[in-house]
Subunit: 245 residues, 2 copies
């Protein structure tokens, strides 16, 4: 690991860099994930590296949508596996939802390594893609999914997702909850609920929010009032207004 | 190298990615440099991948400040060494200033590899950090500098710098000229002059500008009129107005 001193004012950000670099070294994260991480850092600067009101609104709606789902599934790629393994596992526990590995760059064995990494961090069960089930509307190998996981899910939590796959899931009638720091990304635009926030802040907050939901019927009202388009516009406005300087 | 065709609309950007990836493969650039590069790409998009007026203003002031320096030094890290080795060497020649290697992540031998890389590209002399001299106000190993280089410099050119070190140099009374695509970064905020531009565009323009300065006394007026705070605000306004997104 790195020698970044704890007194460094950007200690947290540099620690996250270390985690994602460590992910690459362990064969969990694609090297392309590093550049994507850098882009995320830029957008995080533009929201002052804080969970802003539009993210909180999305987290509240996402908590309800995931709670009300009949078969929620958590899709895990190499970046989130490196950054927030424990939080994803806890999210799976509170929702009673399986984790399923799904990655864009499929270097040999990487899917299994991500699974092992999650199991090591305490996951009970981790699904892998299977050639027995595939998503429609998608060409790449990301179409393959597990028949008992994403294939039959009604709501999929897919943080840091690829736009193509998000679109395919939506076209198949599934609801998608994503976390994406770029409100202009295709994923952000196409998801049912987009949490514009850093995944390391958003996932723990989502878990806390789910734990707080006691009355599901009452919670349902929140969903019907939620508009993702408005929330994304708020995020863009916030970035452009320059409120953080 | 990569097989990106010259007709590709993002040829230049992809070529730069190749250079930085090649830097990692050669042991010159830290793998963390890929993340920083990705962050830079995002900010470069936001300024339309062009040298904007605020960068031109900073380049003009920086040229004067470096020309008037008694002992200017060029600090080189693994990312700029991979991206613009020839331009840094030419900058050193026109200023009669030494290049000094200074890096954040000190994998064994990387400093020497950067030195060798610069010598191979035509540098006459490259200084390395020495335990004989150290900067105040800094914890990490970046405090070590060369006694005849950064230690006694009055103006340091430090493109793509770490905020801590920039702050330490400033506290020691040195002027700092930096190139940083993020106008909100600690380095950008703390430098004497911040060129908000891509280093591959900014350094050649800086060299050209220095060559044009004939009357140093007249040039000095430009420095006294320059306000880095205003230039950074202009850069931020430009990004936030969303003219290019």
């Amino acid at each position: 690991m790195s020698d970044v001193p704890k007194t460094h004012p950007r200690y947290l950000s540099l620690t996250l860099r270390d985690k994602i670099v460590r992910g690459v070294e362990q064969g969990i994260t694609s090297i392309h994930g590093l550049i994507a991480h850098g882009r995320g850092e830029a957008f995080d600067y533009l929201i002052a590296e804080k969970t802003q009101h539009f993210a909180t609104a999305a987290i509240h709606a996402a908590a309800v949508m995931l709670c009300l789902a009949k078969h929620p599934v958590i899709s895990v790629n190499g970046s989130v596996a490196a950054l927030v393994p424990e939080d994803l596992i806890e999210l799976g526990q509170v929702l009673n939802a399986p984790l399923e590995v799904n990655i864009f760059h499929t270097e040999t064995g990487r899917e299994q390594k991500i699974k092992d990494h999650l199991l090591k961090h305490g996951a009970k069960e981790v699904l892998l893609p299977s050639t027995e089930a595939a998503l429609d509307y998608i060409d790449s190998n990301r179409k393959f999914v597990h028949p008992e996981g994403i294939f039959k899910a009604d709501v999929v939590f897919v943080p840091l997702e690829d736009g193509d796959r998000c679109e395919a899931l939506r076209k198949m009638g599934k609801d998608v909850v994503t976390v994406d720091l770029n409100p202009m990304s295709r994923t952000a635009q196409q998801a049912s609920i987009t949490i514009v926030d850093n995944v390391v802040r958003a996932v723990p907050l989502l878990v806390d929010q789910i734990k707080k939901i006691s009355d599901k019927t009452k919670a349902q009202t929140l969903i019907s009032q939620y508009c993702n388009r408005t929330v994304l516009e708020e995020a863009l406005k916030h970035i452009r207004r320059g409120e953080n300087i």
